[in-house]
Symmetry: C2
Subunit: 353 residues, 2 copies
């Protein structure tokens, strides 16, 4: 079954949700998106790995980039999609296949925009930053990302969300001494030594900084823990992985320093990280967009690729269907009404002179 970008928006959206595309398995969806975009005179369609890019080249003085990722977090018994009371449920329905559906529909329909457009459907967003396909493309073909303003279609409940929080992942490993568990006093238990680390994380009060007028909400959380050799051995090693989500007034280095201050005396090993992006809603391009789509901008809590565009000097905002609080939840869903709100707002703004 192929995707029909000219047909019913809800049918298009459900078809996209029903093509499972957990990070690393985006190929089928990328193939179908590429096929749906092909054959339109106003679009040049490129493929790079499992990333599909469609561009107009009308010689306009400005270029807008609209981007969305194809991948999802692992399925949790929530596919295929279902519909109930004006909501579409299913893995990816919130984060962010609603945005993908809107992008496809508007890309094929907007044949003569006053600004040139670059539509980017990319892979590996839900995993470590180094695997994100935009990292590769920024390094190898940066001209494909170029533009004067960018819209990331991450879920925002169809409101403009400015900037994004950064993310840092690190491990804390405790070292003990192995011994037979029947003679525990001969060893030293590395798992027990994680007690204080977990207690510090549990007691930590996350900050809620205001940056450029928007209130962010940080978080410092264990996301994985492991340790143990055998059921009768005192473990000589245990590791907890921690994820720090930080407001965009901190650099990545500041964020790391902050984590060290919360866990004094422990050795932190950074696994990966990505800085956030300040809201930047005072920039002219952002002001234009906010005025066109309406509503009161708020802070974006999750890390998104607006940070990547910000780092390239391109102002960027988040705007897409789906309640961001439902991202990654087993019962994630998208309000059908928000699909249409976003489509109409985006098509209206892009079609304006």
């Amino acid at each position: 079954m192929s995707l029909d970008p000219h047909g019913d928006l809800v049918a298009l959206f459900r078809a996209i949700v029903d093509i499972e595309s957990v990070s690393g398995n985006e190929r089928e969806l990328a193939d179908q998106v590429q096929a749906a975009l092909s054959g339109h005179d106003h679009l040049e369609v490129l493929r790079d790995g499992d990333t599909v890019i469609a561009r107009t080249s009308l010689g306009r003085p400005e270029r807008v980039v609209i981007a969305g990722h194809l991948d999802t977090v692992p399925v949790a018994g929530n596919l295929p999609s279902s519909i109930e009371g004006g909501r579409i449920y299913g893995r990816g329905s919130c984060d962010m296949k609603g945005g993908v559906a809107v992008m496809l529909a508007v890309a094929v329909a907007t044949t003569a925009p006053p600004r040139d457009l670059t539509w980017i459907f990319y892979d590996h967003e839900e995993v470590e930053a180094s695997a994100n396909s935009l990292t590769r493309i920024a390094a190898t073909r940066p001209e494909l990302l170029a533009g004067d303003f960018a819209v990331l279609m991450e879920p925002t409940s169809a409101r403009v969300e400015g900037g994004c929080q950064g993310t840092l992942r690190f491990t804390v490993t405790t070292a003990g001494r192995a011994a037979h568990s029947a003679r525990a006093w001969m060893g030293h238990n590395a798992i027990h030594d994680l007690a204080e680390v977990l207690a510090l994380l549990r007691a930590h009060q996350p900050e809620q900084p205001v940056v450029d007028g928007l209130r962010y909400h940080e978080g410092l959380n264990a996301v994985a823990i492991s340790g143990g050799i055998a059921g009768n051995v005192i473990p000589d090693r245990a590791t907890v992985m921690v994820n720090y989500r930080f407001a965009p007034h901190r650099s990545l280095a500041d964020a790391e320093q902050y984590c060290r201050s919360v866990l004094p005396g422990y050795e932190l090993t950074v696994v990966d990280g990505a800085p956030g992006a300040r809201p930047g809603l005072d920039l002219p391009a952002a002001v234009d967009f906010v005025a066109a789509v309406g509503g009161e901008p708020t802070a974006k809590f999750g890390w998104t690729d607006v940070a990547r565009f910000a780092a390239l000097g391109i102002p960027a905002v988040n705007f897409g269907p789906g309640d961001p609080a439902k991202a990654h939840a087993d019962d994630e869903f998208c309000l059908i009404a928000e699909l249409f709100t976003c489509r109409d707002a985006l098509a209206g703004w892009l079609g304006k002179g």
Copy 2:
């Protein structure tokens, strides 16, 4: 290369150590032990899974069981064996391939003992009690384990160690609520909730009860911990596995009750367990053995299959080469001198009228 039970004891011991036999992978060693025992007129050799049993049937009024396990805990870069300053190093050198070597040598050399003998080389001792091959044999062919007295050749530094501590394994699982880690306040972190469990385990002071005149030394330790869904998800589940080693005045039910009192309010799920064995050194058969091999008996801390024989009504002691404090250590070793001490003591006692 085959095992030569009539040759040099050190060479035999090293050959046994060098046949890797981590629990579940005992087959090759069992094959070689079976081959080494076969072809001796005084021994009937039986095979049950990867357990090898050799018996005399001389119509003696008493029967002694000598038992040792073939398996080891996982290898930690400590194979093949090495020799240094009168010690043989390598996985299993302490626990308990020295005992296996002594058993093989004495079994083939003791052709006309005054008591009938049953030599048991068994598998799956270093894992959960339900997988121990003696569990199966006690259920399906209990006559093979029958006897008037049993010697377990677990490492005791060539001294008699009475009884053994019991062991109980249980898990504590915490339940949270999954959410995107950028909006942690929407979820509840199950890993953080293990902080108190680990703190209670870390603060716990193990008891050292005196039972039948011997001092035991208990231990309550986390032996494994796990949790986490993905690097950007608040975990909704985390589990710690705990191993309680308890003195033999407690039943398995008492031991479980004790653990619940240490971790009040948490739900404990018992994984497996085995009661200990009281020292029982006042029994006539034990008194004879202690007098024959000499030395001052002490308490056995580790669980051993003396408990299994005790449960079958067969008095049993631990006696074997190797420092029990080195069991399962990466640098475990056996003193060569203890191999000969144990061989000579065992051969002398078994040969006596």
